[in-house]
Symmetry: D2
Subunit: 359 residues, 4 copies
């Protein structure tokens, strides 16, 4: 009666070797968790400059059972796949070594997400290796499944951008976004700020907030505009709320024709886009407590919940992901699975918890 | 150096007697807290049908020191001011008794908030006393200061509506909203659901959520449209987030002329509207952790924080209130102060806490 | 380098069929999650009287992908293993049917946990089937590994009892508890109260609490006294704290001889008891943020973290579990694995999340 | 019907001038909040070395309305009362200046809490001004009301110590503690760690914890032993839990005579000690949600809730305070009120909030 998501028997032969560079951060730790339970990977290295030699479990308590230790990135041996979970800029600095030492580099930073040097000029103060910009495949298999197999450089999407993109993509495919006005209002958890301290992210100041932290000009706008194939007017605002994991995007969409927007047309667009997708779950309405997408329902998973409601000339689209999962490490492993020809769900079969508080 | 908000010496003569009907609910408890520390009121009755005879402190632990007991509403003696904190519909059923037994009735429900029977037909399945609709003054002194003195029926605003109205009102006054598109994205705490249980509001299910609970068609839209004096296109969506007290509204405003919106014009509009207001605090930008309006910075108070940022053809307005305070009981006491000629800040001088978690 | 916890190839032949009775509760949902990812079980039924016919995913959003539906318990067909996650008393009422319809019954309630009818008289107002009391094996494999294979009735331990037992058991084995005084101070999450509502467990009242809810006389004392093989003086107090999943026990142990307690003796006792245990992790001291047992480090898992510190004549023992996992459904699946001869870790390899908020 | 706690008319003549040194910390901010609403104080200075010249409201958002600015401590002019809310050690370094510049110094650090240099040697690596040790009056008026009037140096108690002391004091007075064994198990909020960052107190790591942070050897033990006038065996363990404000102590008391402990004897002891106390509330049993002491019921106040239950030879005592209030700044203002002859409740009449989440 129950469906088993992973069919591990499909992974034949030897596991691929994997290195996680920047393994002491949150995305790095999540990569280690996913890869250590993945039938197609063997973790060869988990690097951290500051913690080389120490136990991984001392930083990521859920990995105490793995016996993993951090190694120094300078000691990195060649691997099949190198996952870079380093701060923005590091991958650019080391891209040549990374590519030399691995058949596939999956970068979780913003370093190679955008397609043109001009976009980096506009949103990120330029790029130090402009000649390489455009070589990476954006990681989301829902949009780039065809380009991933055989790729040697994959760029993971930003978490807020991912939340918005999975919500908007079917509408663009169905032509609803051309000329539309789209307001994206994002709510995101504290893990987005990364491991480390700082007063604003200290528990007394960060608990219980609904805090606008990027009212305008968030860099993830660039990705949304790049990945959504339509000409539309995008406004984006992000708020920090009281959870650790999770990103929720509410997209208020006003199509160009002034509506009304018909629910059945939307359903068709979303079903067409996602009916075959293993990691997108349409969720709109119905009974019970969990009627719309909610980040806590997908915490720890690579699942995106997407739902919507029509409102005259407006369509309200909700999407929810785990920013560390589908918004970062989960997306990266999913893309690597596609790139390597593994079953897409390999290593990603944790379904989440219920009940769960504020994961 | 420090300003004392309350000048109690201005209240001469005897205190007014006050009754709180529906005192076992959250708004009722907050009214009791505010009135018990108010120099111009003496609490004559705190009614609760289900808890008559029991100690108020057994329900509201912060009021254990007051010695108050719930009484039966049928035993209500005449008072100067009757505050009704009952579920929607109750005040309509009892409005004649209430008005007979009090010089001033301040109702916190939706029963008399809207101006016309037609609006009740559209948003609330009609009204049982249509001939009385329109007699009440909407409680917000920022909009109705002139009409409150001498009023005998005051209708408190809805919490989400209040959050939106304080953010949008100055723009309407300055003419920015005519023909504009306005998207109001609200985040609200669990106290809005009221005292009592239910699975959706149980701690395991309600903790850590970002839950769309009113994607479209929220009744507070009617109030916003009524109170904001402009012709604009309103879209409204509310989300439950993990706090108990607080409502935060992010209003994405697109003026009709296509912008750009100039920050200095906005500043002028907000300063003009609020510079003299004792309970509105402009908060936009600057340094530090608390740069924009945040509900936790105003928890327990009657203060609304309002701020904004410009973004090309968009203006993003943030407002934050305590839904039980400014969004309900605080607003009611403020309006009563104005109605009775008391100093506006009497009984409302608690400035909030820092640090504070998820109040 | 990383250890794979599950060796699925060891499960040969056909999967066992499993029914979960009482599947709409929290423990029932967790059983479904664990069994749906378990290589040795096929879920044949998930019963719920009140929700028969409805989708399991409507109640447990993490199980939307399974396609499971609740069935009526009256329609239950014979299965290999029946897991009962029903309220206390239900299994006693149905024990004959349950045993007739399944080779193995695993009951998660308190119905068969205690060994003698007298204990039920003392702590639970008696037992309706006293002749069956004593037939069940207490589920914790750490204490009952030898008795589980071939058992036909297994009784899962209480969550608070489990937390205390895993902390105290090695001390009893080493003889430290005879004549000792032991104070057990427990902190537990809101999921212990079960699915459903009620004012005390509503989000506004239950958030942020440190609430003594069982100052004395908690029924889990009976289990601790039964399972810990020593004569000692037990005091037990439980507090509700702000998390959904998790139970943390701090056991203050004062040995009879007046100490001092030596750390190396304790280490020896704990290592002897747990060095081979797949689901107990010794965690005491060291560097970093997570130096002692913490419930959030084991949320979603079947792992118990145990640690201690010596303090003159006192030994402070900390233990942390997920009350829904090791404290309930995880323990049940672990015991069933041992009973059926499956690898102990089968279906229980989720290592938990980092970071994670208040799971 | 309602009792007004503050009788402001009793403060005649001019306000005292007050300086808060170390005003950018949490206790400093709370002092400013309390003093700015206090009828007997005028805030003359709020010093902060690092933030001199900046607005107080930029750090403490609840004080935006006060217009206060931080000044440099070197510019401090003489005042009537100097409150020092500085890190441990600073007051010792500056005690001569402080006493020269103020008639009364109220220190919130541990610098002068203990009575003998030997105790500082044992618990704090000694004291730099041993000749002054013993000159201060410990701030708790419940224990030192007679010594406070006219004092020129007052030392505020530690928050965890205060929680334990208010719970144990009546038992010592009644002679129940001589020869007793007492286990104090404390749960405390994140504000205890102070303003500032650090990984352990970052929101992702600190949220949702039940984290033993001082299993043994907590320095507050020294205070408890000093203030509780009895010979008893004290064991103390502190846990961090998920709230910002609040400390809850569960004291497991085993009297020397082996009991049983009689509830009516305990009631007599507690009533005798606290019946006249304006800031201690006995709370034990009864109906409703809030039957025992809870920190969230006293958040923002100077109130200590104390309750107990008997259990054979054990007495379980619960006490709950706001660690920033009664456990620090509130206690300091209360003591200053007594020292200056002000009404004890002046400036301390905020009764707390209901509902409230995790303050």
């Amino acid at each position: 009666m129950a469906t088993k998501l992973t069919n591990e028997s499909e992974i034949d032969g030897e596991s691929a070797t994997a290195a996680v560079v920047g393994a002491s951060g949150f995305a790095g730790g999540e990569l280690l968790r996913l890869l250590s339970g993945h039938p197609g990977f063997e973790i060869a290295a988990a690097t951290s400059r500051s913690r080389a030699g120490r136990s991984v479990g001392a930083v990521h308590p859920n990995l105490r059972g793995t016996g993993l230790r951090f190694s120094d990135p300078v000691d990195l041996d060649p691997v099949d796949v190198l996952f870079a979970a380093t701060p923005h800029g590091v991958t650019t600095d080391h891209i040549d070594e990374f590519r030399e030492g691995a058949d596939l580099v999956v970068d979780l930073s913003a370093d190679f997400r955008l397609d043109t040097p001009e976009t980096y000029d506009e949103w990120y103060d330029g790029h130090d290796r402009p000649e390489l910009v455009g070589e990476a495949v954006y990681a989301l298999p829902e949009l780039h499944r065809e380009e991933l197999p055989g790729a040697d450089l994959i760029a993971g999407g930003g978490c807020n951008a991912t939340a918005a993109i999975v919500g908007l993509y079917p509408l663009a495919e169905a032509g609803f976004l051309d000329g539309a006005r789209v307001v994206v209002d994002v709510k995101v958890g504290s893990s987005e700020g990364g491991a480390g301290g700082g007063v604003a992210s200290s528990h007394p100041e960060r608990s219980g907030v609904v805090r606008p932290y990027a009212p305008t000009g968030h860099r993830h706008e660039a990705e949304i505009l790049q990945e959504i194939d339509a000409e539309f007017d995008l406004s984006f605002t992000a708020h920090a709320v009281d959870m650790v994991r999770g990103a929720s995007a509410t997209c208020h969409v006003f199509p160009a024709d002034g509506g009304p927007v018909e629910a059945r047309d939307c359903w068709r667009a979303y079903r067409e886009a996602y009916d075959e997708e293993p990691f997108v779950r349409l969720q709109a309405g119905g009974r019970g407590v969990y009627r719309y997408p909610e980040p806590k329902a997908v915490a720890g998973t690579n699942i995106a919940e997407v739902g919507f409601e029509t409102d005259g000339d407006r369509l309200v689209v909700f999407s929810a992901i785990d920013n560390v999962g589908k918004g970062s490490a989960g997306q990266a492993v999913h893309a690597a699975n596609v790139a390597l020809g593994y079953p897409e769900t390999a290593g990603l079969d944790f379904p989440g918890l219920h009940p769960v508080g504020a994961p």
